[in-house]
Amino acid sequence: MLKAMLREAWQAMGANRLRTILTMLGMVIGVGSVVLMMAIGQGAQYAVAQTISTMGSNLYILISGSTSTGGLRSGGGGGPTLTVADAEAIAELDGVANVAPVHQGTQQLVYGPNNWSSTVVGTTPPYLEARAWTIVSGHPFGDSDVRSATRVALIGQTAADNLFANDDPLGKTIRIRQSPFVIIGVLGKKGQNLDGRDQDDTLIIPLSTAQRKVFGTPFAGSVRLIMVQATSAEAMASVERSMTALLRQRHRIREGQDNDFYLRNLAAAADSAAETTRVMSVLLGAIASVSLLVGGIGIMNIMLVSVTERTREIGIRMAIGARQKDILTQFLLEALMISVAGCLIGLVLGIAGALLTNAVTDMVIVISGGSILVAFGVAAGIGIFFGYYPAHRASGLDPIEALRHQ
């Protein structure tokens, strides 16, 4: 019986082909845009999650200077207020995994005839672990390199590509402000950070060497930045409190006075970036869903027209023994068939659109089984929801009235 009805529904669809196709088009566009938008939204979420995972987890950055209502201003007469000794003291606190004082800036790197402007980071060994940097060849520098200010460097992939092209950078000597540096390690690839800056365009050298040979700071022992990594996400709040208290005490800041440092929670920034893309992806999906809704209403409209047109047919069917539920099933199946067929086509077009988007814009897209399932479920739901009312109307017709209908 169901098979016979399915075949009949198929015939009914074929009887008015153009109308069926136009009705289906609503579903095709709806499902297609949902699939495409979900692919883009999930892709964005994936890209952000990927970036966050390269950033290092549970990180704080302490920045010299003070915050006030005016924003960041330099404190204590212009020199950095944070010191290497501050960093060492913070390292002793509970819940702190890694602490690395940082002095960074943009410098010209020179290798033979090539030169390349890159971010030079002077720091201590814990920095690598805090930022989750890997070393793909060579080895990192150690505490002794920092103590004796050796001229060694770890090079990021972008900087390496630009300076050495296809050569192996390991063991090569480059120059920064005339000082020679030996490349002892090549860093693993990270990609962009949340601000869109290329994290691989970098050179990491010992802090002492950076301050003496590269940046030439007049305040030895002071740094602009300290990177602090908590042992876990749960530990972050207590680390923030104890770190602030410690620094205020060490810097002799009286009650009521502003901090002479600024604390930036990178984990929170990551969370908010993730949240932003999540909201964006939900919004995209919601907007696309509106077209799905419009498609559903189109189906309802056409089914109502069809019921009116076929009133006499319904009367004949009832006269020869169709029960109400037979008529209901018949019209419901027709609506369902249109929406599921539309959904299938929309799915194919949506995926094709997503792949095209990816090919043309190299935007990350993610096509998940989940989103396909959702699209399908929604299409079936729409078929039933918007098909039910017309089908119910058809099945409720009075046989005599229906037979008399012209």
Partner: protein, 236 residues
């Protein structure tokens, strides 16, 4: 004594109209036994179609009782009425009422779909009935491709496909010329000989004379009920 297929007891039907209730039918008592061939006659508007719709369980009386094969129709639900129409009654309409998009075989098989018969069995039964009405070669045609007389034959095949006890035909020859009408009446006569009870409405005395009993309506009342005196058509 044979089985009573139709028994109406003081059946009436009144319609609500803008001018108040209108009694299209009142106090009709009629019993039809299995194997009878009854013609219903009467002027236009006398309530013949109204009565046929009641007999066919397409409509329900507003007064009196109607028993179809011993069951009081007023006590049956919509689904049970549908089943009764499907299994016990075969309808033949003036306007043929075939479904235009279906082949003749599918049209004939349609009642079997609602009876839950398997596809192969449906097809076999449909072809058998088409052959019985002389249209075995047209199984794959569409209704629009054949003549009115042929369409009415297909409609009769459809009415027969579920082996009903009773055939109800409301002016089955109303849209046909006299020659074709005669052929259709020959078919009905043959079916009646095979034991099927037939009730048909007609305006034409010649057609009515094919039946063995003639019932006359006037203004919603049954006014005469007589056996047929003499056959008029050679075919019957």
């Amino acid at each position: 004594m044979s089985q009573v297929v139709i028994r109406t007891l003081a059946v009436g039907k009144s319609y609500r109209t803008a001018a108040g209730p209108f009694a299209a039918l009142s106090g009709v008592d009629l019993a039809i036994e299995a194997g009878e061939f009854v013609a219903i006659m009467g002027p236009s508007g006398s309530g013949k179609s109204t009565f046929m719709n009641l007999l066919g369980c397409l409509d329900t009386p507003t007064s009196g009782d109607y028993f179809l094969v011993g069951r009081n129709v007023a006590q049956l639900g919509k689904d049970e009425l549908a089943t009764l129409r499907n299994r016990t009654i075969g309808f033949v309409f003036q306007g043929f009422n075939l479904l235009p998009r279906m082949t003749l075989a599918d049209n004939v098989a349609l009642p079997l779909v609602y009876a839950g018969v398997e596809r192969d069995a449906r097809r076999a039964r449909a072809l058998q009935e088409l052959a019985r009405v002389g249209l075995g070669d047209y199984a794959a045609s569409l209704p629009s491709r054949i003549s009115g007389g042929q369409q009415q034959r297909v409609a009769i095949a459809r009415a027969l496909v579920n082996s009903p006890q009773l055939i109800l035909a409301d002016e089955p020859t109303g849209n046909l010329d006299s020659h074709t009408s005669e052929e259709i009446m020959a078919l009905f006569t043959e079916l009646n000989r095979e034991g099927i009870t037939i009730v048909l409405v007609t305006h034409e005395p010649d057609i009515a004379a094919c039946a063995r009993r003639q019932v006359r309506f006037l203004d919603g009342r049954l006014v005469s009920d007589v056996p047929t005196a003499a056959r008029a058509l050679a075919a019957c």
